[in-house]
């Protein structure tokens, strides 16, 4: 059955190879067409010299996102720098770093957590998360929190708590998401407008940055050369935590 010197086996092989190539190219094309282009790279610069350790950011975050007891999207650590000559603590507020290479994302077994292609914010899909907490083990910065179901004790009935997160306005109930899900800082993305822009003058700005009395938390678009964060990063020496892990955090610290 050799047609023009091509055996059946060779013919089958080339057909298979051709089909595989087509499939890969089609997949790439579909991905290119459906993935929105990167518009922003939201990030922060945190000036530890300006931080007084008042924890107003922690409170502002809790109020903005209505997080239950035991869930903090940002915390303030207060330890001396390792190897420093005095025991003066360095205050560090620590939100999610929205890494460019987030180690928490690929470990999710159900694709419930992902990095938004448009602006790089790492989010959790509360309708899909199964609560295995693998991403918590995978995050090297301890930036993820699990909603264990603990409830407010000094506030009105639990059902009255509404969180604006992800513009979903979920009413807190004992058996509905996000109870049993992993939660994390979203850079208050519910304050973005339809086109994904924040507006500082209108107060649509991440709660911690908006609240900080010492202006120690500076938020902005790292891709925009004119933004305040970009200017600071050009002018001053900023560091990122655990740079050696290759996670490429979007949050910088000024020491």
């Amino acid at each position: 059955m050799a047609v023009a010197g091509i055996s059946r086996r060779q013919a089958l092989k080339s057909v298979a190879a051709g089909a595989a190539t087509t499939a890969i190219l089609a997949h790439e094309a579909v991905a290119a067409a459906t993935t929105p282009p990167r518009k922003h790279h939201w990030g922060m610069v945190i000036d530890t010299q300006r931080c007084v350790g008042c924890e107003a950011c922690v409170i502002a975050c809790k109020i903005e996102n209505m997080t239950p007891p035991g869930v903090f999207y940002t915390v303030v650590t207060r330890e001396p720098l390792p190897g420093s000559r005095n025991d003066r603590p360095v205050f560090m507020t620590k939100p999610c770093f929205h890494c460019e290479e987030p180690p928490c994302v690929p470990v999710c077994p159900v694709n419930a957590t992902y990095k938004r292609p448009s602006d790089g914010i790492v989010v959790v899909d509360y309708d899909r998360c199964i609560g295995c907490r693998y991403c918590i083990a995978a995050c090297p910065y301890g930036a993820r929190w699990f909603d264990f179901g603990d409830d407010f004790q000094f506030l009105p009935a639990a059902g009255d708590q509404v969180s604006p997160e992800y513009k979903q306005y979920r009413v807190r109930t004992p058996d509905g998401s996000p109870v049993g899900n992993v939660r994390k800082c979203t850079f208050c993305l519910h304050l973005q407008d339809e086109s994904g822009e924040y507006d500082r003058s209108a107060g649509r700005w991440p709660a911690c940055a908006k609240t900080c009395p010492g202006h120690a938390i500076i938020f902005g678009d790292l891709d925009d050369p004119e933004s305040e964060v970009s200017k600071i990063l050009r002018e001053r020496n900023a560091v990122r935590l655990k740079e050696e892990l290759g996670t490429e955090p979007s949050v910088y610290y000024l020491l």
């Binding site: 035991g70 869930v71 915390v75 650590t77 330890e79 390792p82 560090m92 620590k94 180690p103 690929p106 470990v107 999710c108 077994p109 159900v110 694709n111 419930a112 899909r128 998360c129 199964i130 609560g131 295995c132 907490r133 693998y134 918590i136 083990a137 995978a138 995050c139 090297p140 910065y141 301890g142 929190w145 699990f146 909603d147 264990f148 179901g149 603990d150 004992p174 058996d175 998401s177 109870v179 049993g180 899900n181 992993v182 892990l245």
Partner: protein
């Protein structure tokens, strides 16, 4: 020849006895186990109602007793593979009478282990998302694939060599047992009549299965270890983890098998078939694996301890000196050194000694899993005080219920299925008696048996 047929009859009677007679003690045991499981179900209902806040797990130590128990159960599921597949491949004949028990343990332990993953989930109602939205990059999906493959494989591997025995039950119990049992054996025996053609197919099927099941079993515990090793946590950062977990799995699997053997031997009077030789041989095997575990521990601890990087220092302090020191030292001395000593000393190289060693190993291996999971998350990621974790009554209750479920499933299995591989034992016996010089070779096990009974 009369002796042989008499021997054969006795073997069949022993195999059939658990199915024919059920004593009060059996029902008392079942009732007790059901009560423990019922208590666990209550604890789980509390957890479902109030959320995982009823456990001791919190944001920093977010995996605890449940995940440790999952790893433990998946580990002991390696009993079956080791005994039946590895020893079958190496043609170690002595293992024949205990194969079936080992294969029971595999299937039951896998079921119990998998249930602990679901217990650990924050949203167990969404467990099917794993199949709907599964993402191949996640080691958890590798685990789902490996464990379901292993479960399918080990059920097949339990079932196929059991077909001739199921046919024996079908024939011997025909009309003398309840209707559902008769139906069950008829269906499961799938028309076995012992013809030469059937025997040939059976032999080749077992031959394929025993080879296939070994890489599957190895992959399962390797992938379980990778769940930990794939993260950026200091104590889990080890390329040795896969091999270390597989060795630990087989090690704990042997221990559980020895315990189950001792209980079933006494309960069902299997003294003629499960002899001291089985305990001692398995005890030696267990000691060999203890040596492998010691080697792996030294390798792991020395490589990291010599360099003593920042997180490692904290980790070493917690396992050798601080919080976890009692558990870890028990694991090293009671779980790894003691079994070797017990197997080496002639005074303790007997059934009782091996059972004691196995109980120690079982405790130590659960503790090892617990220490691995909790200490891994205990090393602080950021400059803050380390978190603490202690399991609550809900977690302990579910652990008890898990162990009770394991015991219950084994107990029920022994009442439904043949607990010794009758045809294989008979085949081995005939080969031994029929072969030239058989009398001489048969003398040794017989001597052991008389000593033992």
């Amino acid at each position: 020849m009369a002796a042989l047929s008499e021997w054969h009859g006795r073997l069949e009677e022993t195999a059939l006895a658990p199915v024919r007679r059920t004593g009060l003690r059996y029902w008392a045991l079942v009732a007790f186990l059901l009560a423990v499981i019922g208590w666990g179900a209550y604890a789980y209902s509390v957890q479902l109602r109030d959320g995982l806040v009823v456990t001791g797990m919190r944001d920093r130590i977010s995996w605890g007793l449940y995940i440790a128990t999952f790893v433990f159960f998946i580990g002991i599921s390696h009993a079956g593979t080791l005994i039946s597949a590895i020893l079958r491949v190496s043609q170690a004949r002595w293992r024949t009478p205990v194969t079936r028990m080992a294969e029971f343990i595999t299937v039951v332990a896998l079921v119990c282990g998998a249930s602990f993953v679901i217990i650990d989930l924050g949203r167990p109602d969404r467990v099917l998302n794993v199949f709907i939205y599964g993402r191949w990059q996640s080691p958890i999906i590798w685990d789902v694939l490996a464990i379901t493959t292993y479960l399918t494989g080990s059920i097949t591997y339990l079932f196929v060599p059991m077909i001739p025995d199921l046919a024996l039950f079908r024939d011997r119990l025909a009309g003398r047992t309840s209707r559902w049992r008769g139906w069950l054996y008829r269906v499961l025996a799938i028309g076995w009549n012992g013809s030469a053609a059937q025997r040939r197919s059976l032999a080749s099927a077992i031959g394929v299965l025993m080879i296939l099941i070994i890489p599957i079993a190895v992959s399962v515990h390797t992938v379980v270890s990778w769940i930990f090793a794939m993260t950026l946590r200091v104590p889990w950062n080890s390329a040795l983890f896969g091999a270390f977990f597989v060795a630990g799995a087989i090690f704990s699997g042997i221990a559980i098998l020895i315990i189950v053997m001792a209980i079933l031997r006494r309960a069902y009077h299997l003294h003629e078939y499960v002899t001291e030789k089985h305990f001692v041989n398995l005890g030696f095997l267990m000691a060999a694996f203890a040596a492998i575990m010691i080697y792996a521990n030294i390798s792991e601890l020395l490589v990291h301890g010599y360099k003593l990087e920042e997180g490692v220092e904290f980790h070493f302090r917690q396992i050798f000196l601080a919080e976890f020191a009692p558990l870890f030292w028990f694991y090293l001395l009671g779980g790894l050194v003691a079994p070797i000593v017990i197997a080496l000393l002639p005074a303790t190289r007997n059934i009782r000694g091996m059972v004691v060693a196995s109980v120690l190993v079982t405790f130590a291996m659960w503790i090892e899993r617990y220490v691995i999971v909790v200490t891994g998350l205990h090393v602080p990621l950021m400059p803050y005080e380390p978190a603490s974790y202690a399991p609550t009554w809900v977690e302990w209750s579910l652990l008890a219920a898990g162990l009770a479920l394991f015991a219950l499933l084994i107990t029920v299995f022994t009442k439904v299925f043949p607990i010794i591989a009758v045809w294989e034992v008979a085949e081995d016996h005939e080969a031994m008696v029929g072969a030239p010089g058989a009398a001489r070779r048969a003398a040794r096990p017989a001597a052991l048996e008389t000593q033992d009974v």
